[in-house]
Every structure is written in structure tokens, then in C-alpha cells.
């Protein structure tokens, strides 16, 4: 089992408060957050998911079962999911609400900084900017055609030049000279870095140049001429990199805030959304028992109406060959993705 790379746990042993769980399953990592009624973050984890959201979520729930007090399952009153696998995970754990990560991040950031105007978010494979005014999202943008400058790319480069990704930021801060690196495209950036290495520049300055290139690319391609107002909040996995934070500050001319729980902000926001959504009603959460199941994913085309949806279903691994997904069967755990809600 993968141990979470970041853990925060200030949950006391006897839980008597109502708790809310938020799960953010992104392209690279799975984040879990537990909050209480007063929106205080009590428990947070960050795990690499290696591309299998179901297994990773199950492992996270198992870990929760081990670490947290026994009555945790009963005290969870609402569950929210977010991230690219939100519908899958919603079906898996019986979450109450599945919201896109843009909204979750906005809610999470404004819980810490109520007057935030601009949220810069760079995650594993996507980067987005969210503009807010008086606590309402007024505009947002996501990278549409290109993932240059996101976490995966930095990860890849860190492996290539043999610098641990955690120390990337420190390297950038130690740099003495400026190197300009092409940031438009991941592949070109890499070849540019290689040629700069061969010209004899130090690792530090190349990493700093890379950080600056990424920030430039982000401001040009994602912000696309939007007017950005302070205060700025920077979150998502890449916020761990102080080099990028510095480059942002240089480019924008304002201080950029990075909260201590930057890595789990989406899950935190979705827990708050779940709290607002449940609002005293009973949650549809299946409980932590889900972690024991061995599930497989299937899909079929529904031809019952003109919508022609592709319905997806979760089924027990051993019954996968027997079941088509259409029948009423105990082996079928959940079905979703139909427009009419029939399945």
C-alpha cells in the first residue's frame, strides 16, 4: 500500500463533532480532507495514484480506517468529490455531491482568504486561473490545448536532471545568473534545457529559468489578457515549489500567498460544498467498507431513448464476465452517466 506523502492529522481520539469528507482525485494524485462544522481542516493526505483512481481511493479509505478513531465512519455526515474522476468516485463511495475542481478550489481558497481576487492553481496536468469578487467566482480559465508547465512536466524534468522534485524550489532560489528557456512547449523546453546544460550553465540557473518560463507561459496562455487583481493565492501541487512562487511574485509585482494546506485545497473545498449540500440531511455515503471490495469498471450504450448515452457501471471483479450492466443484479455496485437518470 502507498503511504501518503503528506499527512496532516490533528483529529482528537474521541470524535463527537459532525465531520465532512472531501476527496479530490486528480490525474496524478488523490487528496483527502476531513473538516468539522467550523470549516477547520482536521485531517489531510496526499497520495500519488499511479493512474488508478479506484484502487487509490480504496487505499486511502483503508488508511483512514487504520489511523483515525473507530467511530469515524459514523461521524462522517457528508462526502464530496472533485477532480477529473469525480463521477467515478462519487459512484464508488456514494458521495453526496460531485463538483468540478474549479469551484472546489475557489471555495477552498476563499475559506482561508475571504477577500481573495485571483487564484492561481497549477496541478498535475492542468492549470487554471480563477477570478473572484466578493466571494463569487466571476471568471475562470483552464489550459485548453496544452499541458506545458504543469506538475507532470516539472516531475519529468526533475527526474531527468536528477534533482529531487522537493528541492526544485531551493535550487531555483540559489541561482545566480538568469537563463532564458523556451516555455511554450514541453518538448522544446526540454531541448532548450539540454542545450543550455551543454553550454555550461549551472543546474540552479537552468531550474530558475525553467520556473520563469513556466510562469510566463501560464500568464500568456491561461490568463490570456485577463486583468488580475491582488490578493493572489497560489495552490495546487506545484505551489510546493518556491521557485515558481518567486517567479510569480516577480512577474506580477505583488505578494503571492501560499497556504500551509495548499496541496489539499480542492478536497477541502469539496468537503465544504458537501457540508452545504447535505445541510442536516442524511448522507448517502456507503461507509469505509468500500475499501474491501474488488471492483471493475464497465460500460454499455443505452438505446432506450434518443439521447444514446454511454452508461458506465461498477461491478464486482468476479462477476464482470457474467454481467452486461443492464440487468438488476446484486453484483452491480453503481451505474451513472445517463442523462435521464434512469440507471
Amino acid at each position: 500500500m502507498n503511504e501518503p506523502e503528506f499527512i496532516k492529522n490533528i483529529l482528537s481520539d474521541d470524535v463527537d463533532d459532525k465531520l465532512y469528507l472531501g476527496i479530490d482525485v486528480g490525474s496524478v494524485s488523490t487528496k483527502c480532507a476531513i473538516i468539522n462544522e467550523r470549516n477547520e481542516l482536521l485531517y489531510a493526505t496526499w497520495t500519488r495514484n499511479d493512474g488508478s483512481p479506484i484502487v487509490s481511493t480504496q487505499e486511502n479509505l483503508k488508511y483512514m480506517e487504520e489511523v483515525l478513531p473507530d467511530n469515524i465512519e459514523k461521524s462522517i455526515c457528508g462526502v464530496g468529490t472533485t477532480g477529473s474522476a469525480r463521477y467515478l468516485i462519487k459512484a464508488l463511495i456514494g458521495a453526496d455531491i460531485a463538483k468540478p475542481e474549479i469551484i472546489a478550489h475557489a471555495i477552498g481558497a476563499s475559506a482561508y482568504t475571504p477577500d481573495v481576487r485571483t487564484i492561481l492553481e497549477i496541478g498535475g496536468q492542468d492549470s487554471k486561473v480563477i477570478l473572484m469578487k466578493n466571494g463569487i467566482v466571476t471568471d475562470f480559465n483552464m489550459n485548453s490545448v496544452c499541458a506545458a508547465g504543469t506538475g507532470s512536466f516539472l516531475d519529468h524534468q526533475a527526474v531527468r536532471i536528477k534533482v529531487p522534485i522537493e528541492e526544485f524550489g531551493d535550487y531555483a532560489l540559489r541561482a545566480e545568473e538568469e537563463v532564458s528557456i523556451a516555455g511554450r512547449c514541453t518538448v522544446f523546453a526540454e531541448s532548450d534545457m539540454i542545450s543550455k546544460q551543454q553550454e555550461g550553465y549551472s543546474k540552479e540557473s537552468i531550474i530558475k529559468g525553467l520556473c520563469k518560463a513556466l510562469v510566463r507561459n501560464y500568464l500568456n496562455n491561461v490568463c490570456k489578457g485577463k486583468k488580475l487583481y491582488p490578493p493572489f493565492v497560489f495552490q495546487g501541487g506545484v505551489a510546493a515549489n518556491s521557485g515558481i512562487k518567486n517567479a510569480f511574485e516577480e512577474e506580477l509585482g505583488y505578494e503571492v500567498i501560499v497556504h500551509e494546506n495548499y496541496y489539499v485545497m480542492g478536497a477541502f473545498g469539496s468537503a465544504i460544498l458537501a457540508k452545504e449540500h447535505v445541510n442536516g440531511h442524511i448522507s448517502s455515503f456507503h461507509g469505509l467498507k468500500v475499501s474491501e471490495m474488488n471492483l471493475a469498471l464497465g460500460s454499455f450504450g443505452c438505446l432506450d431513448c434518443a439521447n444514446r448515452c454511454t452508461v458506465k457501471y461498477l461491478v464486482r471483479q468476479e462477476d464482470k464476465s457474467r454481467v452486461t450492466g443492464r440487468e438488476k443484479d446484486d453484483a452491480i455496485f453503481a451505474r451513472w452517466n445517463s442523462r435521464c437518470g434512469k440507471w
Partner: protein, 444 residues
């Protein structure tokens, strides 16, 4: 004397009225273009220049597919002088197909730079040469009318579809009704019966049980016309928005475009006038009218603006930049979202954005005074179908009204606004155009 199999690009429901244009001509067999699918698009993408806009690739793919699998060698395609490079696509597509080894491809150009000069009639002359048969004049006139009438009804059906879907109680019922109506329209070629088709549309939509008290969010849906109409390309974005409970106001269709080229579209004139301060001329795509629609829907108190365009469509990208730049001045406050579509975009990313956009609009509706205090107005179409059904007389009047107002707008020389046909304008027109110089007596 040869029998010719003719076909064209499908473009959503547009094949219905293009078929009307070539209906029942001697020696011509119209082949229905098949639904666009992944295979067709990948054929198109493989054989197109890399940075040409996506409609080019889709249409080329359709043509290749028709040639290979349906034995069609003659295609009808638009040609234009306008600022948009789409006008030259037919010529280039023909060359590409010849280079691919399809030597006997023929292209018939529908000249659409200005429909008033009757250049477009050459398509019939060319087909006459090709088939070696003479088309009777009345058939050409009838087919032109069929084209216009059917295009009008297709626009109307899809427009009502966008308004009704968010209200439907039984899911997917709207889609079903639209399919039924399109089938009816497709098989009806009698002009007299078609003149009363408005009533059929209303009656069919009335069968859908709706939530009458609903006050949904309103979104203005615009973009480049081909990606707006072709459902494979835009992932049926309109339906997707409708299912989320958003009233979609679709802005353009082919009929609207034809009206514009006949200089008879009041709406487009009005939109141009609104946008003049920001975009003073047609720069290609639908950029000018997009700007106009944005301003108009903002005035009407809409909740959002959804704009889709093909990846690498320069006019639409310019429009996007302008909107963003103006937005910084706080004059443009309505939230907007842009989707750039090409074959390699995925639906998941699109859905994440739509959902976030939906949440953004809901938040605005709750907390932002600019949107919260706007009074919801039930669209006329919904009123006429569900609340106050039209009488026979009203149907009769509206069936005359539309062509009349079209003709009047066309004759109206004042290009300023959507002014009605006034006496002064009429005299002005008379003075300019009368053959014997009688008009000059008035010397207005």
C-alpha cells in the same frame, strides 16, 4: 444525358434543406450525407493542411467518405469572396481530392457572396451542362422556395428545442420530438402544406410536458456556424446545457445567414449596429455578430455567454481577445466561456468547464445584484406553445408576415438599424430605382 449523384456536407440538420434545393430535378439523384463520425473526421484530418480550421477538415472527410463508399463524384459547396477563408474551401478541397487520386471529382459552387445578384443560379446551369438536360424554370423557383422555407423551419425547430429542453419533465422527450419534426419536414415537399408547418411544430412541442413555473438560467449560444450546427463536432453542447437546466438561446443558423446575404436580416443588421463601436466591419467567422449578441444578451439580462469556435479560426480568436480586453473596463460584465474545438479535444474537459460555468452562473444569480434583480421574461415561443396557443388567424398572419417583412427589409435602403418600412424610406427607394426617372422628381 447522364444521371448524376450529388451530395454535400451534412452540417447538422442542414442537409434537409440542401436536399430541397436539388429536389426532383431530371437526371439528379441526391445522396444523403451520412452522420459525421470518427472515421470521417480522421480521414479529413489526415488529408488537410495542418492549421486549416476544423470545418474544412470535417467537410473534406465527408466528401472523401461519400466518394469512397457512396459513389458520389459531384459535390455542391459554397464559394464566397468574404473576409473568411471558408469561401475558398471548395476549390482547395477539390484540388486535394484530385491529388489523392479521385480524378473525376466535380464541384458545383454555390456563389454566396451576394445572393441578390443571382450568381448562385449558376449552380443549376452547371448541373444542366453536366446532366445534359434542361431544368424547367418553375422547378428552379420551387426548389429555391423549398430551400428557404425548409431552412426557416429547421432554424425555428432548433431554436425552440434550445428553449424547451431545460423545462421538459420527461428526459429526452425534446430530442425525440425534434427528430419526429425533422422527419416530417424532410418528407414534405408540398409548398402549400409547408406554409402551415408552424402549426405542426407548435402542436408537436405541446406534447412535451413541461415545468411551467420554471425560471431557468439563460445562456446566449453563439459561435462559428459550422461547429455550432454539427453535433459530432460540438459534442451536442446545446443538449448538454439544456439537460443541466439552462435555457439556450441559439443565435445563428443557415437561414439567418442566407437572409443576411440577401440583405434581409433585420437581426444581423441590429447586431452589427450594436457591435460597430468595437468591430466596425465583418472580419470573417461570426465575429461581428458575436459581439453584437454579447451586448444584446447582456442588455436583456442573460446569465452567460457560450461561444464555440474551431481551433485556429482567427476571426473568432480575435473576437475572444477583444471581449477579454473590454471586460477589463467593467463595461462587459456578463460571464463568458469559450470552447475551441477540434478533433482531438475531449468531452471530459468540456464537461468540467460547463459545470463550473453553471456553478458560476448560479452563484451570480444568488449573490450578484447585476443578475439577481433581473426579471425573467418567458420567451415568446414558449408563450405561444404552452400558455397562449395561437388562433388560426394568427397562424395565417404569421405565415404572411415573415416573407413580407423579409422583402421589406431587403428593399429598405437605410442600413442603419432595424427600422421598419416607412413611407420616407419607400419613396427614397423609389426615387433611386425607378426606371423612368420619375422618382427623381421627388428628389429626396
Amino acid at each position: 444525358m447522364v444521371n448524376v449523384r450529388v451530395s454535400f456536407s451534412r452540417m447538422g440538420w442542414s442537409y434537409i434543406f440542401f436536399r430541397g434545393l436539388f429536389h426532383d430535378l431530371p437526371g439528379i439523384e441526391v445522396v444523403d450525407p451520412p452522420l459525421v463520425n470518427t472515421e470521417i473526421v480522421s480521414d479529413g484530418v489526415k488529408n488537410s493542411p495542418e492549421f486549416v480550421c476544423f470545418p474544412f477538415k470535417v467537410i473534406l472527410g465527408e466528401m472523401i467518405n461519400l466518394y469512397r463508399n457512396y459513389d458520389v463524384k459531384d459535390f455542391a459547396m459554397i464559394a464566397d469572396y468574404g473576409p473568411c477563408r471558408a469561401g475558398m474551401y471548395g476549390v482547395i478541397q477539390k484540388r486535394i481530392m484530385k491529388n489523392m487520386g479521385f480524378k473525376d471529382v466535380r464541384m458545383f459552387y454555390l456563389r454566396q457572396d451576394d445572393f441578390r445578384n443571382l450568381e448562385w443560379l449558376r449552380v443549376f446551369r452547371d448541373l444542366e451542362k453536366r446532366t445534359g438536360r434542361k431544368f424547367e424554370d418553375y422547378k428552379i423557383l420551387r426548389n429555391t422556395l423549398l430551400f428557404m422555407v425548409k431552412a426557416y423551419y429547421v432554424e425555428r425547430i432548433t431554436h425552440i428545442e434550445g428553449l424547451v429542453r431545460c423545462r421538459e419533465k420527461n428526459k429526452a422527450m425534446t430530442t425525440k420530438v425534434v427528430h419526429t419534426l425533422m422527419n416530417l419536414l424532410d418528407n414534405e415537399n408540398n409548398l402549400m402544406k409547408l406554409s402551415n408547418f408552424d402549426r405542426t411544430i407548435d402542436e408537436n412541442f405541446r406534447k412535451i410536458p413541461i415545468d411551467k413555473e420554471m425560471e431557468p438560467l439563460r445562456v446566449c449560444y453563439t459561435g462559428e456556424i459550422q461547429v455550432m450546427l454539427e453535433k459530432w463536432v460540438n459534442y451536442d453542447l446545446m443538449g448538454e446545457l439544456g439537460v443541466m437546466g439552462i435555457e439556450v438561446h441559439k443565435q445563428y443558423d443557415v437561414f439567418d445567414w442566407v437572409m443576411y446575404k440577401l440583405d434581409a436580416s433585420k437581426r444581423r443588421r441590429r447586431l452589427e449596429h450594436k457591435a460597430r463601436k468595437y468591430i466596425p466591419m465583418d472580419i470573417g467567422g461570426e465575429a461581428v455578430w458575436n459581439m453584437g449578441s454579447y451586448l444584446e444578451s447582456q442588455e436583456k439580462g442573460f446569465d452567460g455567454f457560450c461561444h464555440i469556435f474551431p481551433f485556429t479560426c482567427m476571426p473568432e480568436i480575435s473576437f475572444m481577445g477583444m471581449l477579454e480586453a473590454e471586460k477589463n473596463m467593467d463595461k462587459f460584465y456578463m460571464p463568458h466561456i469559450h470552447f475551441s474545438l477540434d478533433g482531438s479535444s475531449g468531452f471530459e474537459g468540456l464537461r468540467t468547464r460547463i459545470e463550473a460555468f453553471h456553478d458560476l452562473m448560479v452563484g451570480n444569480k444568488k449573490n450578484n445584484p447585476l443578475f439577481r434583480d433581473v426579471k425573467y421574461v418567458v420567451p415568446d415561443e414558449i408563450k405561444n406553445i404552452y400558455f397562449k396557443p395561437k388562433s388560426n388567424f394568427e397562424y395565417f398572419v404569421s405565415s404572411i408576415e415573415k416573407p413580407m417583412s423579409m422583402v421589406l427589409t431587403m428593399l429598405n435602403p437605410s442600413k442603419k438599424l432595424d427600422v421598419g418600412f416607412t413611407v420616407k424610406n419607400g419613396l427614397e427607394f423609389f426615387s433611386r430605382n425607378s426606371f423612368f426617372g420619375i422618382g427623381s422628381l421627388f428628389n429626396l
